[in-house]
Symmetry: C2
Subunit: 338 residues, 2 copies
């Protein structure tokens, strides 16, 4: 089959590779209905994470189960399933505590930018829909696999409450999903920090009430002005740089939680500053599996349309163009059609 | 009157000074029933915070109101009151959000190691008891002013839930109060990290179910062994050093919150480590005023006896000995009798 491999910085190829097969009795093989490119795929693509050997790319997925291993009991061939980018057994103490993304058996999904993929820990990882979903819902269900679940976790970790004033730092796909999540959780006001017209528009469509285009100190000053000097009740940090973290901290009111879902690159926090700012921090890889049944229901009931975050669709053969478009910020997020 | 001044490292004196007077219409003057020495007083005492001018020491207090300013409406002379070490108006947005320790008008109390003290923002800061309390309850009520309220906040910020496994890092007075707080919040298991017999005993009296005497990696290994490799559901960081913070982080299970109440000295957190540990952090100066009515009730109803944390009582004239005893760890916490 043709699948996606990253060979080095900006060298991503759709190339011939063997079809995946069951390796462990807890595996499933799925035929992907669609796949996509994640903002985090750009770290190795840009050479910011070292690539020492070719990487089978792709960790967001949904599709039809082709085959399951002998130990799989809850998933059957023919079912439509969505799984998290974090593979988890859903039974260990960390999973039961609500953090399947730190599962004792955790693995990270790979190889999903391809027509077929192997999903380890299938029973714990995959959630099936009641029937086969309408094609129009595929992008939304695919989004639940990571980008929506991650934005949702940002809002959950930031403890967004009904009526809350929420600040979202980052207008990438995850930040936009954070806006949608905060809106679903009943936030009274959602301030999206975004400089790009298309992203501003989408943020507003997802529920943003205010847009702040400025960054850094100027951006913080605008957020402070919009909140009468108080700051946000909850802040979603959806980038992962030192600048975005500083911005998030300065937009947080004392007692606010900052939900951090951007993988930190070069972020150091000074204990005493954090202490006297009295801002809380919670983050990490999103425990998407915890949210997945709820998020899938919201999509299936057409109460949310997270698939709107895909503003470019290319066939798998053109995956390199999908990466380029995201790298150059011509696209928010690229959907890959099989 | 005779009050306590710090002139430089290890140079604390009980010396003649003018009696405090009302300066602002929102002030009250109280006659202290007792005062005490705080672990945080040892930072400047030890020269770890620079002392550039003589400091009027003392921020924990309870006593009888002598006089109030013209604008004070809820507190009257003759009442017995307890106040937080953070002075707050209790009406600003930060106070209403539950964080009076970040009040827009916040000041830190000073000069309470003396028979009389001026309390600014009296209406917002002070809480009166229904009548004059029994003398035996004075130490417990005094503890509510800071050390108990701070330990309580550590447990609150760490989101201790009924049945939770709680790890307390630090066996100073605040850590011991954290044990008591976790116990009151229904923790199922409380692991106190303490090397000192007297503190271990007190921790157990306050509700600790397990004692870990080892520190650093060995201590973490013991906590992990006690929790079947999982770590604590909630961790209370009650010291504020790089070592104690590292210990707290390594004792936290993924998804756990760490309540940080030790003022950080030389603590830097690596964003990526925190992210992948999936531990949350919340701390800062304790919003004691939020908890004060509840804590005072618990003491008045004799349901808790936080006054047990005072293991040395000296007359105010001997305040220097009180500091020495704490500095040399001969005393956990020193009560000053007027």
């Amino acid at each position: 089959m043709l699948g996606t491999m990253l060979h080095g910085p900006r060298d991503v190829r759709c190339e011939e590779m063997p079809e995946p097969a069951i390796r462990l009795p807890t595996d499933a093989i799925i035929r992907l209905s669609a796949s996509c490119i994640c903002g985090s795929d750009l770290w190795p693509y840009r050479g910011l994470n070292a690539v020492t050997a070719p990487l089978a790319m792709g960790h967001e997925y949904c599709g039809i189960v082709e085959e399951v291993g002998a130990a799989v009991t809850t998933i059957r061939p023919g079912q439509f399933v969505v799984g998290s980018f974090c593979l988890s057994d859903n039974t260990c103490p960390h999973c039961r505590f609500g953090f399947p993304s730190s599962c004792a058996q955790r693995e990270f999904m790979t190889g999903a930018q391809a027509p077929l993929a192997r999903v380890p820990l299938a029973d714990g990882t995959l959630v099936a829909t009641p029937g086969l979903p309408d094609d129009a819902l595929i992008p939304g269900l695919l989004a639940a696999s990571d980008v929506l679940g991650t934005g949702w976790y940002a809002a959950d970790a930031a403890r967004v409450r009904p009526g809350a004033t929420v600040v979202v730092v980052g207008d990438g796909a995850v930040g936009l999903m954070g806006v949608l999540a905060a809106s679903q959780m009943g936030a009274g006001r959602i301030i999206a920090m975004s400089r790009h017209k298309a992203r501003q528009d989408l943020a507003q469509e997802f529920g943003a009430t205010d847009i702040v285009a400025a960054r850094g100190e100027a951006g913080v000053a605008q957020v402070r002005a919009l909140t009468r000097g108080i700051g946000g009740d909850a802040v979603l940090e959806c980038v992962g740089t030192a600048e975005s973290m500083a911005q998030a901290l300065q937009c947080a009111r004392p007692g606010a939680m900052i939900g951090c879902v951007g993988v930190p690159h070069g972020v150091a926090l000074d204990g005493q500053s954090l202490f006297f700012a009295q801002a809380g921090i919670m983050g990490g890889p999103a425990p998407v599996r915890r949210f997945l049944p709820h998020l899938m229901s919201l999509v299936l009931e057409r109460r949310i349309d997270p698939g709107r975050v895909f503003d470019l669709t290319v066939p798998l053969a053109d995956v390199a163009e999908g990466y380029r478009a995201m790298d150059e910020r011509r696209a928010i997020k690229t959907l890959l059609r099989m």
